[in-house]
C-alpha cells in the first residue's frame, strides 16, 4: 500500500513538474537532487529577495533560510502544488517578515549610497564613461526607490510578474489570495510605477 501511494505521488509530481519529482527524491534521501534544485532556483530566489529587501547580504541570508526550510521540510513534503509556488511562498513570507522586522531599514535609508550592490553597466568598448555611469546610477536609484515605495504585497506581486514571469494564478497561490486580488494589486502597483517612471523613456 505505501508503495502504491509513493508511486501515485511520483506520477502526480511528474505531471505537476520536474522540480516536485526532484523534491520527492530529496525526501527519499537523495542529497544530489537537492543540489540540482539549488542550482536551478538559487539565482531567481536571491534576485527576488534582493529586489524585495534591497540589500544583497540580507537577501542571501534570507535565501539560505529559504533553502534550509526546503531541506528541513523534505520528510513531510507532498507535491500538492507547483514546486516554485511553494518555494516563492517561503521566500515571500521570509521577505515580508524581514521587512516588517525592519531588518534592512538601515540599508534602505542609504539606498543611494549602495553602489556596491549594483552591477556596473558597460559601454561597447568595455568601459563606461564617468558621466554615463552617473546617469545610469541615478536612473537605477530612481527605479529602486519607486519599487521600494510600493506597499509590500504590491511589490512582491510586481517582482514576480515582471522578473520571474509568473502568471496571475501562480502569484495568487504564492500570496494566498484570489486571482482578481492579484490583478488589482498589479494594476495599482503599475499605476504608481507609471506615474514615477514614465518620464524615463
Amino acid at each position: 500500500m505505501p508503495e502504491r501511494v509513493n508511486r501515485d505521488m511520483g506520477a502526480l509530481a511528474a505531471t505537476l513538474d520536474y522540480d516536485a519529482e526532484l523534491m520527492l527524491r530529496v525526501k527519499d534521501g537523495d542529497g544530489a537532487s537537492f543540489g540540482v534544485l539549488l542550482e536551478k532556483h538559487r539565482s531567481s530566489v536571491i534576485h527576488f529577495l534582493f529586489r524585495m529587501v534591497q540589500n544583497q547580504a540580507v537577501a542571501e541570508e534570507l535565501a539560505q533560510e529559504v533553502f534550509l526550510r526546503v531541506y528541513r521540510s523534505r520528510a513531510t513534503y507532498e507535491p500538492t502544488a507547483k514546486f516554485t509556488t511553494w518555494l516563492f511562498r517561503i521566500a515571500t513570507h521570509l521577505a515580508l517578515n524581514a521587512l516588517r522586522d525592519g531588518k534592512n531599514q538601515r540599508c534602505e535609508e542609504r539606498l543611494d549610497e549602495r553602489a556596491d550592490d549594483m552591477p556596473a553597466r558597460q559601454l561597447q568598448d568595455g568601459r563606461p564613461t564617468a558621466e554615463q555611469a552617473m546617469v545610469y546610477q541615478a536612473r537605477l536609484a530612481e527605479v529602486r526607490r519607486a519599487v521600494a515605495a510600493l506597499p509590500e504585497k504590491q511589490r512582491a506581486a510586481v517582482l514576480m510578474h515582471k522578473y520571474e514571469e509568473m502568471e496571475y494564478t501562480q502569484i495568487a497561490k504564492v500570496l494566498s489570495c484570489s486571482e482578481s486580488a492579484v490583478k488589482s494589486l498589479l494594476f495599482r502597483a503599475y499605476e504608481t510605477l507609471r506615474a514615477r517612471l514614465a518620464h524615463m523613456a
Partner: protein, 169 residues
C-alpha cells in the same frame, strides 16, 4: 472593441500588451483600437516606459561562497539531529530496555492499586433514601413553578381536545 481604459477590469489587457504581448488575435484587435484611442495609446506608452525602466535593475552577482555556506548549515543541521538522537539513544537506550521499562510498569501497577484500595466504599442506596434525597434537594419555589406548569399543560390539553371535537363536527 470596447475601450480598455473605460471598461472596468480591462486595463490589465493594456498592461499585458505593453509588457509581454498578447496572442495574435487580441494583439490585432487592440492595435486597431490604439490607432483610434489616444487615452489607451498614452496608457500603453507609459506602461512600456515603466516596464523598460524596471529592466534597468539588473541583479547583483551572488556571493561565490553561497553554496558552501548553505552546505555547511545543512551538514550542521544533519549532524545536530544525528548527534542529539545518538546522544539520547546512548544515554537512555540501555537503561530504557533493561531498567526503566520494568520500573515504570511496576510503578504504574502500584499507583493503580493504591487508587483502587483508597476509594471509600459507598453505602447501599434504598428507594426511601433516594426519594428523601430528591425531596431535600427541591426548593419550595421550584415546586410552585412545577405545579403552575402542570396546570398550564392541562389547560392546553383541554383546549386541544375541544378544538378536535369542534373540527369533527
Amino acid at each position: 472593441m470596447n475601450c480598455p481604459c473605460e471598461t472596468r477590469g480591462s486595463p490589465e489587457l493594456l498592461i499585458a500588451y505593453a509588457s509581454r504581448g498578447l496572442d495574435s488575435i487580441q494583439n490585432a484587435s487592440l492595435e486597431e483600437h490604439l490607432t483610434a484611442c489616444a487615452a489607451c495609446r498614452e496608457f500603453v506608452q507609459n506602461q512600456r516606459a515603466a516596464w523598460q525602466a524596471l529592466d534597468l535593475w539588473e541583479p547583483a552577482p551572488i556571493s561565490a561562497d553561497f553554496d558552501r555556506r548553505l552546505e555547511q548549515r545543512v551538514a550542521q543541521e544533519v549532524s545536530w539531529g544525528q548527534r542529539i538522537w545518538g546522544d539520547l539513544a546512548r544515554a537512555f537506550g540501555p537503561v530504557l530496555v533493561h531498567r526503566a521499562v520494568p520500573i515504570a510498569a511496576t510503578a504504574v501497577l502500584l499507583v493503580a492499586a493504591g487508587v483502587l484500595l483508597d476509594r471509600p466504599a459507598a453505602p447501599p442506596l434504598t428507594p426511601e433514601h433516594t426519594a428523601a434525597a430528591q425531596m431535600d434537594a427541591l426548593r419550595p419555589d421550584q415546586v410552585v413553578q412545577a405545579l403552575d406548569e402542570m396546570d398550564a399543560l392541562n389547560q392546553f390539553n383541554h383546549s386541544l381536545k375541544a378544538d378536535g371535537a369542534e373540527s369533527r363536527m
